[in-house]
C-alpha cells in the first residue's frame, strides 16, 4: 500500500507564538519549529498500516526550508521517504490554498491512502483532511480513533459527541487520526542515523503543477483585519483555604448567579 502521511511543522507551543506585524502571518522565526503532535499519531498510524499490509510510507510536508527538521523526525520514526513542497509562492496560504497545493502534490505523487493529524496546534482548523478528500474526490474518513484496512476496503471509528460512528469506504481514501489512537514510538538511534540517508524530494510550485493564483497570501480567501494581544484578564481573587474554601467558592458562584 502506498501511504502518504501529511506532516506539518508548527511553532513549539511552549514558546510565545507571534504574528508578524508586516503581513499578519505566523512568525515562523519567533519560535522553534516542532512536528505537530497529532501528525506524530498520523505517522504512527501509517507505520502500523505498513507493518500490517506492506508498502511504503511517504512523508509530505508543505513548509519553509526549516521544515526539513520535521521531515527528518518523521523519517526517523520509520517513514521511507519524503516530499517537501517548498516555495516562497506558498507563504501565507490559507486552508483553501494549502489544501489545493497538497492535493496537487498528492495527485502528482500518487497514493492509496493519505493520513493526516486531525488538527494542527497553530491553525487549529481541523478541516484540512475533509478539504483534501473534497479536492481529490475520494472518501473522507476523519477523526479516527481506530483504522482497519482489509484488501481494498477501509473502516474507521470516527469520534463523535455521543461515542463513535463506524465508517466504511474503499481505497483510495483520506484518513485523519485523533490523539492516542496508538502509543507513539520513539526513534531508535539506528533509525535516526538511517533517516539522514533517506530520500527527500524537494518540489516547487511548478513541479507540482500548482497554479500560483490559488496559493500564497495574495490569493488567500480571507484576511486578517487586525490583531492584538488579548487584554490580560482582570486579576482574580485568590484565597487560602482555611477550612472554608468550599463556602467561599459557593459565595463567589452565588455572586455570579451560577448557584
Amino acid at each position: 500500500m502506498n501511504i502518504v502521511v501529511c506532516v506539518k511543522q508548527v511553532p513549539d507551543t511552549a514558546t510565545e507564538r507571534k504574528l508578524r506585524s508586516d503581513d499578519k502571518t505566523l512568525d515562523r522565526d519567533a519560535s522553534d519549529g516542532v512536528i505537530n503532535e497529532l501528525c506524530e499519531y498520523a505517522v504512527e498510524a501509517a507505520l502500523k498500516l505498513k507493518e500490517a499490509h506492506g508498502g511504503e510510507v511517504t512523508v509530505l510536508t508543505m513548509g519553509p526550508d526549516k521544515a526539513s527538521d520535521t521531515i527528518r523526525k518523521a523519517l526517523a520514526l520509520g517513514a521511507d521517504k519524503a516530499v517537501h513542497l517548498v516555495d516562497d509562492a506558498l507563504h501565507g496560504s490559507d486552508a483553501l490554498g494549502t489544501s489545493y497545493a497538497l492535493a496537487q502534490t498528492l495527485k502528482k505523487i500518487g497514493f492509496d491512502l493519505v493520513v493526516l493529524g486531525s488538527e494542527s496546534t497553530d491553525a487549529r482548523t481541523g478541516i484540512l483532511a475533509a478539504m483534501l478528500a473534497e479536492r481529490l474526490g475520494v472518501p473522507q474518513l476523519t477523526f479516527a480513533k481506530k483504522v482497519e484496512v482489509t484488501g481494498g476496503s477501509i473502516s474507521i471509528e470516527r469520534v463523535t459527541d455521543y461515542g463513535y460512528d463506524r465508517i466504511e469506504a474503499s481505497l483510495p481514501a483520506v484518513v485523519s487520526v485523533v490523539e492516542k489512537i496508538y502509543d507513539l514510538r520513539y526513534p531508535s538511534f539506528k533509525n535516526i542515523m538511517a533517516a539522514k540517508k533517506k530520500p527527500v524530494e524537494k518540489l516547487g510550485v511548478a513541479d507540482a503543477e500548482i497554479d500560483t493564483a490559488q496559493v500564497g497570501l495574495a490569493a488567500s480567501w480571507s484576511e486578517v483585519v487586525d490583531f492584538a494581544a488579548a487584554p490580560p484578564r482582570a486579576a482574580g481573587t485568590i484565597v487560602k483555604d482555611e477550612g472554608d474554601g468550599g463556602v467561599k467558592i459557593a459565595d463567589f458562584l452565588a455572586s455570579k448567579k451560577f448557584v
Binding site: E157, A169, A230
Partner: protein, 317 residues
Amino acid sequence: MSEILVLVEHVEGQVKKVTLELLTLARKLGTPSAVWAGAGYSPEAKARLAEHGAEKIYVADSAEISDYVVAPKAELLAQLVAEKAPAAVLVAATAEAKEVAGRLAIKIDSGVLTDVVGVEDGLVAEQSIFGGGINVRSRVTKGTPIIAVRPNATPVEAAAGAGAEEQVTVAVSDVAKAARIAERVKEEKGARPELTEAVIVVSGGRGVGSAEKFGLIEELADSLGAAVGASRAATDAGFYPHEFQVGQTGKTVSPQLYIAAGISGAIQHRAGMQTAKTIVAINKDDEAPIFEFVDFGVVGDLHSVVPQLIDEINKRK
C-alpha cells in the same frame, strides 16, 4: 435584509442549543434562514427554530444526507448558496460542521473562518488564537463568507420568526456517498450536557489522584448541571477517558463557567479553555500558573474543598 443561512445541528430530532445561538447571532447580521439537513425533522424542531428567529426553514429531511460522512451536507449547502445567494453561511464550530464548512468553501470558492467567538457588522469575525494569547479580527475576502462559530459565543435570545418551510431536494452525488456510516455507537454518558456545548464545565487534573476520586469531580459537575472535563495528565493516567480531554490536543470549550480542580494550568490546557467567561480554580500550590488567569482561586486541597463546595451548592438550591 440579506439572508443568512444557518446550518442546524441536531441529534435524534432535537435542535441543539448552539443552533439557537447561531440564529440569535444571524438576526444581528441579517435575516436568518435555518437549513435542516438529514433525517428527523419534526414540528417541534420547526417550532424551536421559528421561536429563535428563523424566517425560513429549508428542509432536506433525507436519510441520504445522514447516512454518509459530511459531504452530502456540503452539497446541500452549495446548492442553497447557488439558489438563494445568501450574505453568509453560519455553522457551529463543531468538528463535523467545520468539515462541512471546509468542503463547502471549495465547492463555492469562498473563504472560511473557523472557531470564531464573535461576528461584528460587515461580517468581521473575532478569533482567539495561540491559546488565547492573541485576538484576531478577520474577514472573508472572496465569495460567500462561511463562518464557524464556537458554542457559547452568543447568549440565546428568543424572537419569533415566520419559520416558513421550504422543502429542498438534493440529489446526493456518488462521490459524496463514498464514506458510509455503517453504525452509530452511543456511549453512555448519563444526563450530563455535552462538553463543548455545556454552560458550565468542571475539570479535574492530575491532582485528583485516581480514577475513583474522579467521582468527586462528577459529583460537583452534577450539582451544577455541568459537563466533566479533564487535563491531559488526568487522561494519560487513566483517571478519565480521553474524549473528555480539554486543551490543545483535546476539546476546546468556551463555557460561562470553568472550574479547574487539581490542574496546574499549562499553556496546552489553557488553549482549550481560555475563552471561558469565568474561571475558578482549586489547587494546593499557590504558585500554580492557573492562578494567573482565574477570576476566583482557592489555594487548598481539593479533597476537602470540593466536598464542602458540593454541600454548599446543594444547600443553596
